[in-house]
Amino acid sequence: MNRLKALRLDLAPDLVEAARKGETALSAAVLHEHRSFYTDGEQFERERERLFRTMPLVACLSSDLPSAGSYRTFDDTGIPILIARGGDGQVRAFLNICPHRASRLVRDTQGQSNRFTCRFHGWTFDSSGNNVGIPEERYFCGEVDAQKHLVACSAEERHGLVFVQVAPGSKMDLDAHLQGLDADFAVLGLASAEVTHRDLLPVRANWKYGLDTFFETYHLRSLHRESFRGLFSPICVFYTAGLHHRYTFSPLGIQDWVGRARDQWPVDSIPLQYFLFPNTILSVGSTSPSGLTVSMHQIFPQSVDHFVSKLSYCVIGGVKSEEQRAEIERAYSVSRSALVNEDYSVAAEAHAGLAALPRESTLPIGRQEIGVQNFHRNLRKMIGTA
């Protein structure tokens, strides 16, 4: 039995018990959120600095840098980053800025090279960031020796994900960050994931409003009546792991599992949703019977009222059959269309509405919206407004 199936088997009894009782995960009390949570420009600046510059972020999948010399750029946080896999297989990240005159060094979004030459004056660097060639270097009279290399940022590869902390000079502590989810991620097998679809969706709304829609199933029966409602029940089990969380949803028909032997449960159909604070959601098997498709959603704020949502769809272990290809094609199309026409459409419309509400208005986040409540509390803690 594979390790992912074993993980689902471990998680299944809680979910079956919840389904038996008809009780979804609940928080202790209602949270009344101030509307400025989504509209305040000063809070937004703190979030950008604290969450998107000095925390580990998932920059790409390991399979996006398949071999020595693979590189790609990562610009979504506003800081231009170059990520390169060296000849030693190690992943490193740098500011994608030439130290001579700050011009953009690598101008294509991905590729394969061990040398990066700046088009402006021709300075050249290797995949460790070392300067390996400066035309007419003698005219700098030895005074560039200490500042001619690329500026490094922390980067580390873990369980098939590449993490980068974009503020140069800040030290990334990935062990501390991933505590609580490390064991799960070790069995997901993302290192073998093959990406089949990518997309980038710009949305005129606050980034947290976009994320919130992933964290509660209260809207399943209403907003998703035509899409996901036919796939899950709103009953879910919620586990916190530091700033992160794991959500397990009930496949429709889970009631029938009650009273059957555990080894008879079709646990592959249990969708697992992981939230990696502050902006990444990994949905494992949510819309596919094999349980091996993964949709990764990443939300990057551009301003207080604008975010981009980056989607990557992949199959753990790679696409093995035409059947599986068709499965992820379906999963992708259902999921993307629900995201665009339902979740993000609501978010963009609501953003205009929030501004119209009286200044002192609050929005009630119900006990069944436990994931939203947790995210808001953790975010406040991190930016220092708890």
Binding site: R35, Y209, A350, L354
Partner: protein, 389 residues
């Protein structure tokens, strides 16, 4: 009780008497002096923000006519001033308005522009409201533990129906004093009899200009012989008009050329029913009675809405006075509407958007002279300044 046509005829006779008197005396309505307007009046961002708040959020605005909300449950959206507003005729026939924003998570509740419903359900989590804005269905309400009882209903804005016009003040929780706003102008609006008016045509023109620069062109006919030389100049008299004010509101009456023949004739031979009369409801609504129509009781409504200091839109609506027009009437209406739109777009709005580009290049402190014959423009500028001061 006199019927609608008689009331309008009476109104026009009064106005014609005054204008014929002007024509006989060889005069027109004039301001006492020339007014200097600093170009910053059209360009200043801080002034714009002040007037947008004061005039478009804290002043009653015409959002539609009564017949746009024909029955209990009729609703429409009003989004022209940046606040998403839902206007509903409730089950008792009273007009109400609300922020079109779900109190649960701020989602937009009603997403079609108009229709008829007695229940409004937010698509996000399914919260449902009745025509009085009360929450009447919250899925899993028990999980909110009673903590939302006083904040689960729609947020109301002041709304009131008067003389066939529906007014809303686009700030929730504010108090709208429509009587104080309309003052004695109310009696003149009542005479227009918009209660029977039916919307026949509507169009929208969006241009890059300041809304005040554009609305100024409605308040003077000094530009008639020049800008409108190929259109209205053949229809209307030059340098002859009547300008009456009621607080910040005004009526601008500009007769057709035939009036020059009437000044030597007895009153019984005047064809008063062709006289156009333009009613301005401060700050942005112009109701023109019969301007280019032989069936003189058609009304056009122009509403100007600023989007930014240099961006605006005008909604132009044409109404027939007594229910749906016949096909012959409709034909005349279509052709009238077309000629209004042509003049508005090719002449007035063309000149306002072109000029606006030039305004910002003038040296700071440049002033424009607003002539004595541009009395309506002078009044409007003074009233805007008084309102935002």
């Amino acid at each position: 009780m006199p019927n609608h046509e008689q009331v309008l005829s009476e109104l026009r006779r009064e106005l014609t008497q005054k204008i014929v008197k002007f024509a006989r005396e060889g005069t027109t309505d004039l301001a006492p002096g020339v007014m200097d307007v600093d170009v910053s009046f059209f360009l200043d961002q801080a002034l714009f923000e002040k007037e947008f708040k004061k005039l478009f959020r804290e002043t009653p605005l015409v959002v539609c006519v009564s017949s746009d909300l024909p029955e209990p449950g009729s609703y429409l959206l009003f989004e022209e001033v940046g606040v998403p507003i839902l206007v509903i005729r409730d089950k008792d026939g009273k007009v109400r308005s609300f922020l079109n924003v779900c109190p649960h998570r701020g989602a937009k509740i009603v997403r079609d522009a108009c229709g008829k419903r007695t229940r409004f359900t937010c698509r996000f989590h399914g919260w449902t409201f009745d025509t009085t804005g009360k929450a009447i269905g919250i899925p899993e309400e028990s999980q909110f533990c009673g903590g939302i009882d006083d904040r689960k209903h729609l947020v109301a804005c002041p709304a009131e129906e008067r003389y066939g016009l529906v007014f809303v003040q686009a700030t929730p929780g504010s108090t709208m004093n429509l009587d104080a706003h309309l003052g004695t102008f109310a009696a003149q609006l009542q005479r227009l009899g918009m209660g029977g008016a039916t919307r026949v045509k509507e169009d929208e023109v969006r241009i890059r200009s300041n809304w005040k620069y554009t609305i100024d062109t409605y308040f003077e006919n000094y530009h008639l012989p020049s800008l409108h030389r190929d259109t209205f100049a053949h229809v209307f008299a030059h340098n002859l008009c009547l300008l009456e004010t009621w607080g910040p509101h005004q009526r601008f009456t500009f007769p057709q050329r035939s009036i020059q023949e009437w000044k030597d004739k007895p009153e019984s031979e005047w064809d008063v029913d062709s006289l156009p009369a333009q009613h301005f409801i401060f700050p942005n609504t112009i109701l023109t009675l019969g301007s280019v129509s032989r069936s003189g009781s058609l009304v056009t409504m122009h509403r100007l809405f600023p989007k930014a200091v240099d961006d605006m839109t005008t909604k132009i609506t044409l109404f027939s006075p007594n229910g749906k027009p016949s096909s012959a009437e409709l034909q005349e209406i279509e052709s009238n509407f077309k000629s209004i739109m042509t003049a508005v777009i090719n002449e007035d709005y063309s000149v306002t958007s072109e000029s606006y580009l030039g305004l910002s290049t003038l040296p700071a402190g440049t002033k424009f002279p607003v002539g004595r014959q541009e009395i309506g423009t002078q009044n409007f500028h003074r009233n805007v300044e008084a309102a935002v001061r």
